[in-house]
C-alpha cells in the first residue's frame, strides 16, 4: 500500500499541475471525521478499477466548486457554464489519468489494465485506510485506494 500511495501522490501532483494548473499538498492518514466532513459537502465522486500485478479500485471525491475550477482550467472556459456531461467527464478523466500515471510509476515493466471510470454516490467513498486528502488553493478533495 505504501508504494502505490507514494506513486499516487506524485501522479496526483503531476496531473493537477499539468492538466489543471493547480498546485497541491497532501494530508496523509486523515482522521475519519475529516473524510466525513468532505463527504458532507456538495461533491461528485467516481471510481476506477484496475488489475495487473495487483488489483484494486481508486475512488476520487471532488467538491463541486473545485470541480468547476478544474473543468474551467482544463477546458479553458468558465466551469460555471458547463453541463453535467463535461463536469462528470472531467472527473472521470481525472481519476483515469491519476491512476494510469501512478501505476506506470509503480513499475513501468509490469502490464496493467484499467477499467472504465464510473460515477458513484459520494456516500460510497470509503473512510478506511488508504485515503489521501489533497489540499488545493481552494477546497480539498480526496482519493482512496482499495487493494483487492
Amino acid at each position: 500500500m505504501k508504494t502505490i500511495l507514494t506513486a499516487m501522490k506524485i501522479s496526483i501532483s503531476e496531473v493537477m499541475e499539468t492538466m489543471f494548473f493547480l498546485p497541491v499538498e497532501f494530508l496523509e492518514k486523515p482522521a475519519q471525521k475529516q473524510i466525513k466532513a468532505l463527504k458532507g459537502r456538495q461533491s461528485r465522486a467516481c471510481c476506477l478499477d484496475f488489475s495487473g500485478d495487483g488489483s484494486g479500485s481508486v475512488y476520487l471525491l471532488v467538491p463541486t466548486p473545485l470541480l468547476l475550477e478544474m473543468a474551467g482550467n482544463f477546458m479553458g472556459e468558465p466551469g460555471e457554464f458547463m453541463g453535467d456531461e463535461l463536469l462528470d467527464g472531467t472527473l472521470m478523466e481525472t481519476v483515469n489519468m491519476m491512476t494510469g500515471n501512478a501505476l506506470r510509476k509503480v513499475n513501468a515493466k509490469i502490464p496493467f489494465e484499467l477499467g472504465i471510470p464510473r460515477l458513484v454516490p459520494g456516500s460510497q467513498f470509503p473512510e478506511t485506510e488508504g485515503t489521501l486528502i489533497i489540499k488545493t488553493t481552494g477546497p480539498e478533495m480526496a482519493v482512496h485506494i482499495t487493494l483487492g
Binding site: E14, V15, T18, M19, A71, F74, M75, G76, E85, L86, G89, T90, M92, E93, N96, M97, T99, G100, N101, L103, R104, N107, A108, K109, I110, P111, F112, E113, L114, I116
Partner: protein, 140 residues
Amino acid sequence: MISLLIVDDSLPMRSVIKKTIRAAGYGQSEFLEAANGKEALKLLKNNWVDMVLTDHNMPVMNGLDFIRAVKADAIIKTIPVVVISTEGNESRVREFMDSGAAGYLAKPFTAEAIRDLIVKFLGEASYDEDYSDSNENLDF
C-alpha cells in the same frame, strides 16, 4: 489546413486536445471526433484525415483493436495513428507500436508535447502562421 480525427470516450479530453492543437498554431484545422474505435472506423470510411489521435481505454472498441483494424485496411492504413493514453507501461506501448501505431504520448501531457507530435508527423509547414507567412511572400 490539416484534418485530424480524435478518438476518446472523454468529451472534455477531446475538447482539450482540439483546443491545444488550435492554440499551437493550427487554427484552421478540421476535426472529426469519435468516442470509440468503432465510431472512428465508420468516420474513416467516408472521410480522409491526415492523422488520428486515439485513446486506448474506451468502451465498445479500444485503441489497440482500432489500430489493428486501421492497419488491416488497404485504403486507410497509411494514416498515422498516435496513441494518447494513460496506459503506457513498456509492454503496452510495445504492443501499440507492433500493431502499427506511429507514436505514443502519455497522459497527462503538456501543450508542447501535443504540438511536437503534430509537427513530427505533419510537419512545420502545416502551421497556419507559416501558411500565412508564405502567402505574403508569394510573387505574382
